[in-house]
């Protein structure tokens, strides 16, 4: 497969869920276009009901699109869905394995659906379960696994046919911090080996740490996309907290009215940089008013701020 063919290309994708149970139709996707390059790690961010799961579902073949085009590795997913699906591994949001089935059998059976014989699938399943720390549980019925183990089983099952593209729908939801970090390491390794990864998440830290690129989706449209750095620069949401040596007088603050400076408490200011403004320049202007700065701190999760600002619109 040529390097320049996108892993996934979505063009004008629309989805309207039909009316049901006296509920009106829901327009979940309103014309999404997105190109995901080979080997890219894309995070899809958005609040509940934004359309993330619908989008993943359409790419994976779980949801019928209303309009638009999806190509997977250059293959039209409508004209040739079976071929398109062969490139994809899916980690769904909900546990969707047979809870009465044993862990090992779930993974080997899934390989079978992708045309991999049991003889070939058995060593692959063994390796995956070992990599994901589930080998000890291979003969346990899935219903008896802990929440974190079930999540890892979903990942093992999605990877058994060695997909070029892995779609993960909130894979770390409800997983404790230690396990989440372990999963991040696993996904980073997978990404470094060339697998294209699309991850939807509510954890902004996760997107910021893992993703090459972030797409923010809300009300069925992609409202922003780019690298985390690009988004911060483009949207100008660099916010710093400045600890001052002495309490800041309101009269002094008036001198900074052209800048985006807020007084948080007596000796703390919040500074949001304006487009193109450097930290140096902003600090110089503040210092020129006589305010002495003792310390500069990051105001918190930068991506979170962008996310909140964009999705509240």
């Amino acid at each position: 497969m040529a390097e320049n063919i996108p892993a996934v290309r979505i063009d004008g994708l629309k989805k309207t869920y039909a009316a049901s149970n006296k509920q009106p139709p829901v327009e979940a996707l309103k014309g999404v276009s997105l190109t995901i390059t080979q080997g890219e790690f894309l995070a899809l961010l958005g609040p509940n009901g934004a359309g993330k799961t619908t989008m993943i579902g359409i790419i994976a073949g779980l949801v019928n699109k209303t309009e638009g085009k999806v190509e997977v590795q250059g293959v039209d997913a409508t004209a040739n869905p079976d071929k398109a699906k062969s490139f994809i591994g899916v980690v769904p949001q909900e546990m969707n394995f047979d809870i009465f089935e044993k862990v090992f059998e779930i993974v080997v059976t899934q390989a079978g659906y992708y045309g991999i014989s049991r003889t070939e699938a058995i060593p692959k399943a063994e390796q995956l379960l070992k990599d994901l720390g589930l080998w000890e549980k291979k003969d346990t019925q899935a219903q008896f696994l802990s929440g974190g183990m079930k999540r890892r089983l979903l990942i093992a099952r999605a990877l058994v046919h060695e997909p070029k593209i892995l779609l993960l729908d909130e894979p770390t939801a409800g997983v404790d911090v230690e396990l989440r970090r372990g999963m991040w390491d696993f996904l980073r390794k997978l990404s470094s080996e060339g697998t294209t990864i699309v991850l939807t998440t509510h954890y902004l830290e996760e997107a910021e740490l893992l993703a090459d690129r972030v797409a923010i989706i809300n009300h069925g449209i992609i409202i922003e996309e780019g690298t985390v750095k690009e988004l911060i620069t483009k949207l100008n949401y660099v916010t710093l907290l400045l600890d001052t040596v002495e309490p800041v007088k309101d009269a002094t603050l008036v001198l900074l009215r052209e800048m985006n400076v807020k007084k948080i408490d007596q000796d703390t200011l919040e500074l949001t940089l304006s487009p193109g403004q450097t930290v140096n320049e902003a600090i110089r202007k503040i210092a020129a008013t006589g305010i002495q700065i003792a310390n500069v701190r990051n105001a918190g999760s930068r991506l979170e701020e962008i996310f909140i600002n964009l999705t509240k619109k």
């Binding site: 869920y17 039909a18 579902g57 994976a60 073949g61 779980l62 949801v63 019928n64 079976d82 071929k83 699906k85 062969s86 994809i88 899916v90 769904p92 909900e94 969707n96 394995f97 047979d98 809870i99 059976t109 899934q110 079978g112 659906y113 992708y114 045309g115 991999i116 014989s117 003889t119 099952r157």
Partner: protein, 258 residues
């Protein structure tokens, strides 16, 4: 022998999973028809049947055994697909197959084969039980096999259609209770339609199960209320129509995808 075609591997995986499941829970799949049919054989065949005149020259119990075996085949092949597919939909385990590259026809074939295997296993169990009550003659193995195959194939397909559109566990019991059971009881298992008044005899000819029961019975006893070619024709046409319908809806994802 190693399977080479990816589609064949997928199909084999589906059938294997279903057969392992039905054998693992044999107490829920194979034992109930054995117990129920033993009661039918004892009560209708032995106790009441001994008071009933021979039909087509055969003792009553020998006349009803093929029909009762067919009743078990119909019920079990139907229930196998309706339950396994609806349960997979309800648990969302069907997504495992939906995201895979298996073509629709192979998925349908996988589910239907599970139903056919269940139908045949049930037939073997029930026939074995019947031997405790009567002796069986075999007129033609090919006709027995053909009738059992087409019937279990057809009812596995009908079970899939039911499961596709079922939105609750209640909905998968409505058809078996209110449609399948009455049609089966009125399908000539316990009597020859030649014994009925003309009006009811003609009405009975519109019951498709009559043709399945009679074809199967012909395989054992060599007697039938309807021509054999008509019986196989009805089964064949219904199977082709049901298969086409299921394939069409499966390829569109009806009742499976939003």
């Amino acid at each position: 022998m190693a399977l080479r075609s990816p589609i064949l591997v997928g199909y084999y995986t589906m059938v294997r999973k279903d057969v392992v499941r039905m054998l693992r829970i044999w107490g829920q799949t194979l034992l109930p028809p054995a117990v129920t049919m033993a009661l039918y054989f004892a009560i209708f065949g032995t106790f009441i049947g001994s008071q009933v005149a021979a039909i087509d020259g055969y003792p009553y119990i020998q006349f009803i055994v093929p029909g009762l075996v067919m009743m078990a085949v119909i019920t079990n092949s139907y229930m196998n697909t309706v339950f396994s597919f609806y349960f997979a939909k309800w648990q969302k385990t069907f997504h495992e197959i939906l995201v895979s590259p298996m073509p629709s026809w192979a998925v349908v074939a996988g589910y239907v084969s599970g139903g056919v295997v269940r139908g045949f296993l049930t037939a073997i169990v029930v026939i074995a039980v019947s031997l405790f009550f009567t002796k069986l003659t075999v007129f033609s193995f090919a006709i027995i096999f053909g009738a059992a195959f087409l019937t279990s194939f057809l009812f596995s397909l009908l079970g899939l259609i039911n499961a596709m559109y079922a939105k609750s566990f209640d909905a998968i019991n409505i058809v078996p209770t209110f449609v399948l059971t009455p049609l089966t009881y009125l399908g000539g298992i316990f009597y020859s339609i030649d014994q009925l008044p003309e009006f009811f005899r003609i009405i009975s000819l519109f019951n498709p199960i009559l043709y399945m029961v009679n074809a199967f019975r012909y395989g054992f006893l060599g007697v039938s209320d309807v021509p054999l070619s008509l019986a196989f024709g009805v089964m064949g046409v219904m199977t082709v129509v049901a298969f086409g319908t299921v394939l069409y809806f499966f390829s569109k994802g009806s009742g499976m995808k939003q």
